[in-house]
């Protein structure tokens, strides 16, 4: 057929695309129906009709390649072929719809879809016989299971297509990082080295070593002179990369065609023609979802920038609030006052909503982190010769992406520990009347403004007396100190550097990373770790982290004329005491609060946070406020001069050259411009409990 005259061309083209996309939709629906009812002849006829129409329309518009391809598909959609291929035909229909879609897309932009002959030949191979294309190597079929998006930016796509135009071969690579690799950042660096040594890296995800610490799949676009086979060999780096997927980049029909061929290969291998390999289904599923994907990849820095601006807005709002309060006083009768108040209330509501929305952008389900653990547990259990099941709950719990990423390493350590040390050997378990198969539980939930992640095992638990003995043996504690420690304090010893409870150093443990790594990682997040154990029953370790790092509810107070804040989540209660109720015990100030002894802390004694050194005056009847603060299991009382109130503060990180103390976790600015220091509660607790005599603190 020939092209229509030019004047009618544009109109016809528009009409063609409109109807073609409808036909594609029909193909997709038909494909899905064929998946559930493989033999449905009515559906098949519908699909065939759609393909036939597309063929004719495409030919009429002069889109020869599309027309030819549709023709070939039409030929195969006969009841006989369907009978011999079974449900597999559905996948072919769906993939064909995708290929047609990308071709239409190219035509619409007046570019010719590339490599038509190649495409047709492969389709023909595909249609002629299931065994004709068996030479796909096993790893490629296998590797297709790696979920990869290859969501390159427009710039990167441009670079790819330019490289293709220059005649270079460009591949999209997805490399699965070996889940056993403990040094993710180093592993990523090595992958990077290999990629750079194999050609020109056009695009790479993740982009830096820090982000790589939690990533399971590295994606790259590479222009290279190697063949796909040689490239795969180079990329299969022992101990680093466990799986490789390679596909040609730049020509989108190609990718989809590869998928189509994989379906073919899988069908050829399938024992029952009506039972297609699940891998094939997922590969095609990924191809389909890739097209309907509505989510957006955004640079995290941009979100942070928005977040910062919202933070500034919140500060701005409290400035306005203050000004409004002053205005209220001076113009009590001014009618403008209520108008301003209304406007303010409206603005507050919207701003709160905005703040929530922005925080939500960064929130991801903890499932992203949890999903790697079934494999880890299996592997570690195998290494230790144990039989261990993993039970995961609460995987839909949301938390900040940044926090999630920082939790990855400590959690990995805890889970490995639980399997290696926590779960007892089978014979011990059976002797103790427990099921032979051990279980590790991973759980996540929200509690207030915190997220709690729990690693629990039903193993042997920890013997606190044993821990005491170890501490003495390792000269961490003296005998009398060890006996004086509470059970909880003894358990916390496992977080001390160099303290290992394993009697034997196994392959899994004894790698030079201890629980102290877990604690310091949590400290950086302004979170806590809590251990509890029951001898013979198991151990539970709780990681608590703030839901988001951006803003927190705080309690403001003054000490020595300076303004401080503590996170409201760590305040247990506030009480009022007389100074003569304070007792000195063992050079510490102690308060008896409802039959409980509470250690008191004066901020002006703790450190050089500020220089106002009010000497402990002679006990008077003067009343003081005490804020009772809880961090993990520890409680202490903070003696303050006055309470200021609650306030939502946007935390600004302090550069370490300005504040050298770890006792302060950040600062914030109030509406009137006052700077508030936010106390790092866990650090205050540990500083105070370490510095025994009070003189040593000053």
């Amino acid at each position: 057929m020939s092209r229509p005259p030019e004047d009618r061309g544009a109109e016809l083209r528009a009409l063609f695309f409109e109807s073609a996309y409808e036909l594609l939709q029909a193909l997709n629906e038909g494909g899905l129906q064929l998946e559930t009812h493989p033999g449905d002849e009515e559906v098949l006829r519908g699909v065939r009709r759609a393909v036939h129409t597309l063929k004719g329309d495409a030919a009429a518009c002069g889109f020869a390649q599309l027309s030819e391809l549709a023709h070939q598909l039409e030929e195969v959609l006969t009841p006989e072929v369907v009978q011999s291929r079974g449900a597999g035909i559905a996948e072919i229909v769906l993939s064909a719809a995708d290929i047609f879609g990308t071709m239409l897309f190219a035509y619409e932009r007046n570019s010719e879809p590339r490599s038509g002959i190649h495409l047709q030949k492969m389709i023909r191979d595909l249609l002629e016989g299931p065994s004709s294309k068996k030479d796909l190597t096993a790893h490629e079929a296998h590797g297709s299971q790696i979920a990869a998006t290859f969501a390159w930016t427009e710039y990167e796509q441009l670079m790819i297509s330019e490289a293709v135009h220059r005649g270079e071969s460009v591949y999209n690579l997805a490399l699965r990082v070996d889940p056993n690799s403990l040094m993710r950042a180093a592993a990523f660096q090595l992958i990077r080295n290999v990629l750079h040594g194999s050609g020109t890296v056009i695009a790479l995800r993740p982009e830096d070593n820090i982000a790589a610490a939690t990533v399971e799949v590295v994606e790259a676009a590479l222009a290279t002179k190697f063949t796909a086979e040689a490239l795969a060999q180079r990329c299969r780096i022992p101990a680093i990369v466990s799986d490789v997927r390679i596909e040609r980049a730049g020509i989108s029909e190609h990718e989809l065609l590869d998928d189509l061929l994989e379906v073919q290969a899988n069908l050829a291998h399938a024992e029952h023609p009506d039972d297609p390999a699940p891998a094939a289904g997922s590969a095609i599923g990924a191809a389909v979802t890739a097209i309907t994907e509505t989510s957006l990849r955004v640079d995290a820095a941009r979100i942070d920038a928005v977040m910062n601006l919202v933070g500034e807005l919140i500060i701005g709002r409290s400035m306005l609030n203050r000004t409004l309060a002053e205005f209220d006083k001076s113009h009590a009768r001014d009618p403008v006052r209520t108008k301003l108040a209304d406007a303010m209330a409206f603005q507050t509501r919207v701003l709160d909503e905005l703040h929530k929305c922005v925080l939500k952008i960064r929130m991801v389900p903890v499932e992203q982190l949890f999903r790697r653990f079934p494999r880890v547990v299996r592997d570690v259990a195998k290494q230790c010769g144990k039989d261990v099941a993993l039970q995961v709950t609460g995987q839909n719990t949301d938390l900040d992406k940044g926090i999630l990423d920082s939790l990855a390493e400590p959690l990995m350590h805890l889970v490995r520990n639980a399997v290696d040390h926590g779960i007892d050997p089978v014979d011990e378990r059976v002797a103790a009347g427990k099921p032979a198969r051990g279980t590790v539980f991973l759980n996540a939930f929200h509690q207030g403004a915190q997220v709690v992640i729990e690693v629990r095992d039903d193993g042997r638990g920890m013997d606190t007396n044993n821990l005491r003995a170890q501490a003495v043996e390792k000269a961490i504690l003296k005998q009398e100190e060890a006996t004086r420690l509470s059970e909880q304090e003894v358990l916390n010893l496992i977080f001390e550097p160099g303290f290992s409870t394993a009697t034997a150093v196994t392959e899994v443990s004894g790698r030079g990373v201890g629980m102290d790594v877990v604690r310091s990682a949590m400290g950086k997040l302004k979170g806590t770790v809590h251990v509890s154990t029951q001898l013979g029953k198991g151990t539970t370790i709780q990681l608590r982290a703030p839901l988001t790092l951006a803003s927190i509810q705080t309690l403001l107070f003054r000490v020595g004329g300076r303004l401080f804040a503590v996170p409201l989540s760590s305040v247990v209660e506030i009480t009022r005491i007389r100074e003569d109720e304070i007792h000195m015990v063992d050079q510490r100030e102690i308060l008896r609060l409802r039959d409980q002894l509470l250690t008191l802390v004066r901020l002006n004694r703790l450190d050089h946070i500020h220089a106002v050194a009010a000497p402990p005056a002679a006990p008077t009847k003067k009343t003081r406020f005490v804020i009772v603060i809880g961090a993990a299991e520890k409680r202490f009382g903070l003696l303050v001069d006055s309470l200021v109130g609650e306030e939502e503060l946007v935390i600004k990180a302090l550069p370490s050259d300005i504040v050298s103390s770890d006792l302060v976790s950040g600062a914030s600015i109030l509406g009137d411009g006052t700077v508030v220091l936010i106390l790092n509660v866990p650090a205050v607790v540990s500083r105070f409990s370490k510095a025994l005599p009070m003189e040593a603190i000053a």
Binding site: L182, M183, A185, A186, Q189, L190, N193, G197, N209, K225, F226, T227, A230, Q233, R234, R236, I237, P238, A239, I240, E507, G510, R511, G512, V513
Partner: protein, 149 residues
């Protein structure tokens, strides 16, 4: 210890190794493994400076390099060796705690790394991989595992 097919050079000669570690025990351990892979020890060194001298003297096929050593750390030794011999094949040997250093060594041109405690089968695969990456034979990497020695 399991049996391994001998790793060989392209010219069918045995692979020559330089083993660098400040712990004699660690060196002996590595050497034992290398020998089961059919390799030959070209030299040993207990610190970075000696390692450089030994490299220049013996021109080994592979260097196994510890990270923390007296005199000169592994990273600096890597940097100096690679500056003179860009085709040097250096495999870092280190425990997990030194990830930062391994990262630096990889950036300076080390070819691979292996975690301590070293497992023979892992080291074997890594060496096989590193040996197969022959710059002269780009495009057609060959696996150099010969018959069982």
């Amino acid at each position: 210890m399991p049996q391994f097919a001998a790793l060989q050079r392209k010219d069918n000669k045995s692979v020559r190794y330089l083993v660098v570690d400040d712990s004699v025990f660690a060196r002996k351990n590595l050497i034992k493994m290398i020998q089961t892979f059919g390799g030959e020890v070209a030299g040993e060194a207990g610190d970075g400076l000696t390692a450089i001298a030994e490299f220049n003297r013996t021109k080994p096929d592979i260097v196994l390099m510890d990270i923390t050593m007296p005199q000169m750390e592994g990273i600096e030794a890597v940097e100096r060796i690679v500056r003179q011999h860009s085709d040097a094949r250096i495999v870092m040997v280190s425990s997990v705690g030194y990830q930062e250093n391994i990262l630096a060594a990889l950036q300076k041109g080390a070819k691979h790394f292996v975690q301590k405690p070293v497992k023979a089968e892992v080291l074997y695969e890594i060496l096989r991989y590193v040996l197969s990456d022959d710059p002269a034979a780009a495009g057609a990497p060959t696996v150099l595992a010969g018959e069982h020695a």
